[in-house]
């Protein structure tokens, strides 16, 4: 059957079972948009291309499927770069389609031309420029395959306008693409090593990361921890991969980790690190990270091994398959932890937890941001999909909203992209229209992609923005307070729009709470309405996120706010 490039494009998307695309039209993609018009394809019109990528990213993180977006050439394409880099740092599978000027004009500085494959080479898993209509179908197939295989990541496909207007034969059964899947090979010898190390360990623990969520291995990890009574800490990206309501959960580790998680890491003698990459925000100074521990590191990407922390036993493989093998091996060899030593270890951790619990000073005068998050958790019974922006809002969410399920905490971890939360929430809500989807935001971050309120209003995508409004770029201010003697250089954001009026101007419900006793009512009202809502919580202006490990220090050295420094 002879089809035009634009028709093949749509057929190829259907082959990949794409049910939604986030995008923004423009000159070089007019023909594709004309096909959307004719075929009624489910497309969400965002208000800025960065929003399209974050929305596709949110969709991907919540569903575990590939997120898709489409933008035009030139500025449309360059506007996607921050979104692509965000997905790349967190290994999120995306396919980003960009329009391109006709092949004959490439290199001529044509109107809205830019070398987007060149620009995105370092921040994509791979990218393609389709120069020939014969390559179109196979390239799209390969792009989706690359995005989701191995360590996932974003793939960009650049589509010149003239190529999309050409015709060729299309038969989905005949489309071939290269295979990039690396077969996982079980390694019995390594399993035996794991067993030996566990048998020798008196203070074992598990550190879970984003790879457990991406690898859909949360069940296996949870079983392993519970069956053998191993306490679990997690990176920011790992939140939800082990139930926060389980007594074995220690909370997040690292710069804003709990005291007891960081103390456990600093004192453990065995660590099973699964799907993590030992980011500097997690490790503190490398030399003092888990100094007494034998570390087993499971990761699908060999380049993650020994990159930051040198480990004792690397296992390269899919997290799910590897954890299954470990479980199987331990069961087969009747591994049973030594009850006495395990009891001592768990009670040691319980003591740390009792000595310095994760807490904050409540107030009846001023709204504490942590209180808003706790109340949100209580009202939703934890059954909500939460996105965040970046900064204090993100850290308090990580600390105070206990995530029990994978794919329910959606946040820009590696790149730390402000403006991520709102468009990401839109993508999440499109995938799960019946769930509570809440963006926990700060007043700085929300202004970075606030135009997406129009997207939410247009399609009635009922996302809820919980704005922790302290009139500061809070996390930067916190660093200025602690390390720059309170010289608040350009972090005061008091000059801001009236967010309630702004929400209303967008056609979004606007609510406000200025006192602690208003918080619950506003949250209830905001959650109840089936429309997008922005809730403006005027919170304590100079609240800090604690505990905090100062940059360049060991994670056992924590600043605990009003308390003394404890180590």
């Amino acid at each position: 059957m002879k089809l035009k490039g634009t028709q093949i494009f749509l057929e190829a998307l259907k082959e990949e079972k794409v049910d939604i695309i986030f995008g923004y039209p423009g000159g070089t993609v007019l023909d594709i948009y004309d096909q959307f018009f004719k075929s009624n394809f489910h497309h969400i019109l965002v208000r800025h291309e960065q929003g399209a990528v974050h929305a596709a990213d949110g969709y991907a993180r919540a569903t575990g499927r590939v997120g898709v977006c489409l933008v035009t050439s030139g500025p449309g394409a360059t506007n996607t770069v921050t979104g692509i880099a965000t997905a790349n740092m967190d290994s999120i599978p995306l396919v980003v389609f960009t329009g391109q000027v006709p092949t004959g004009l490439i290199g001529n500085d044509a109107f809205q031309e830019c070398d987007i494959t060149g620009i995105t080479r370092p921040c994509t898993k791979h990218n393609f420029l389709v120069r020939d209509i014969e390559d179109l179908a196979s390239t799209i197939k390969e792009a989706f395959h690359i995005a989701r295989s191995g360590r996932p990541g974003p793939v960009l496909v650049d589509l010149p306008k003239n190529v999309m207007a050409m015709e060729t034969d299309y038969d989905p059964a005949c489309v071939k693409s290269r295979n990039h899947e690396v077969a996982y090979k079980p390694a019995p010898k390594k399993m035996a090593n794991v067993l030996d190390m566990l048998n020798a360990a008196k203070r074992p623990m598990i550190m879970t990361g984003g790879g457990v969520i991406l690898g859909k291995a949360a069940d296996e990890l949870t079983r392993l921890a519970r069956q053998y009574q191993m306490p679990v800490t997690g990176t920011l990206m790992g939140l939800g991969s082990f139930p926060a309501s389980d007594p074995l959960w220690l909370g997040m580790l690292g710069m804003h980790g709990t005291y007891y998680a960081n103390m456990a890491v600093s004192h453990c003698d065995f660590m099973l690190a699964v799907g993590v990459r030992f980011d500097d925000r997690v490790t503190g100074t490398i030399e003092t990270f888990a100094p007494n521990a034998k570390i087993v590191h499971i990761d699908i990407d060999p380049s993650s091994i020994n990159k930051n922390v040198t480990v004792d036993l690397p296992i390269i493989g899919d997290t799910k398959a590897t954890l299954r093998d470990i479980l199987h091996y331990l069961e087969e060899h009747h591994y049973a932890p030594d009850q006495a030593s395990r009891g001592v270890w768990l009670s040691e951790i319980a003591d740390w937890r009792e000595k310095v619990p994760l807490t904050y000073c409540p107030s009846s005068e001023v709204i504490k941001p942590q209180y808003v998050i706790e109340t949100l958790h209580r009202l939703t019974e934890g059954d909500a999909l939460i996105t965040t922006e970046v900064g204090q809002n993100q850290m308090w969410t990580a600390q105070f909203f206990g995530f029990d399920r994978p794919n329910s905490f959606i946040s820009s971890g590696g790149l730390g992209t402000m403006g991520f939360g709102l468009p990401a929430a839109i993508g999440v809500k499109c995938a799960f229209p019946d769930k509570h989807v809440v963006d926990i935001a700060g007043d700085g971050s929300i202004q970075m992609n606030i135009q997406e309120l129009a997207t939410a209003a247009q399609y009635n995508i009922a996302v809820k923005v919980v704005l922790l409004n302290n009139g500061f770029l809070g996390m930067v201010r916190q660093w200025q307070e602690l390390f720059y003697e309170k010289r608040y250089s350009h972090t005061d954001m008091t000059y801001a729009p009236d967010f309630v009026k702004l929400a209303e101007a967008f056609g979004v419900v606007g609510l406000r709470a200025t006192k602690p006793d208003e918080v619950e009512a506003v949250l209830k009202q905001g959650l109840a309405v089936n429309r997008p809502v922005l809730m403006d919580f005027r919170v304590a202006r100079e609240e800090c996120v604690y505990p905090m490990v100062r940059p360049g220090e060991s994670i056992s050295q924590m600043t605990l706010g009003s308390r003394e420094m404890i180590n």
Partner: protein, 161 residues
């Protein structure tokens, strides 16, 4: 850890931007490429890149892992500790005058260097050899009116498959 020169042989799909991907990956992560040679192999759609770089073993392993992540990279092979032969080539222009012509002739004859072009006032010669041989030759030619050179990167081939 000890820094050492390494010879890395990379098989890649012969795509228009594959070299940019490799150079970008290494440059972006702060690794230096000392020399580079690229050409197609017996299979038209596959190219071989031979690259030399210096670093401690841990750094080299990181470089290999980073390269291996690239979609268009088929294989990465460190030839440093493998039995392999190494060659570089250099083209050298020597300006001739009354004082040096005789000495140049003698040097070319005794070292069996190959004259490519011989003019009235200059001669261009080709020298191939391993790195030491090339370095030696250039040291000899330096005082003999050498005015310009073009030196290739190193190529290497394993003795056994």
């Amino acid at each position: 850890m000890e820094r050492k020169n390494h010879i890395i042989s990379i098989l890649v799909y012969n795509k228009p931007d594959v070299l940019a991907r490799i150079a970008g990956t290494l440059g972006g992560k702060g690794y230096n490429i000392d020399s580079l040679c690229v050409n197609t192999t017996t299979q038209k759609d596959i190219s071989k890149i031979v690259m030399t770089t210096a670093g401690a073993q841990a750094t080299i392993t990181r470089i290999e892992n980073q390269l291996q992540r690239l979609v268009d990279v088929i294989s990465v092979d460190d030839l440093t500790n493998v039995e392999s032969i190494h060659r570089e080539m250099v083209l050298v222009r020597l300006n001739l005058n009354a004082q040096n012509t005789e000495a140049v002739k003698i040097a070319i004859d005794t070292n069996k260097w190959k004259i490519i072009v011989s003019g009235d006032t200059y001669v261009i010669i080709e020298i191939t050899g391993d790195q030491t041989q090339i370095d030696f030759a250039l040291a000899r030619l330096e005082p003999l009116g050498m005015t310009d050179i073009t030196r290739t990167g190193l190529v290497a081939l394993k003795l056994d498959d």
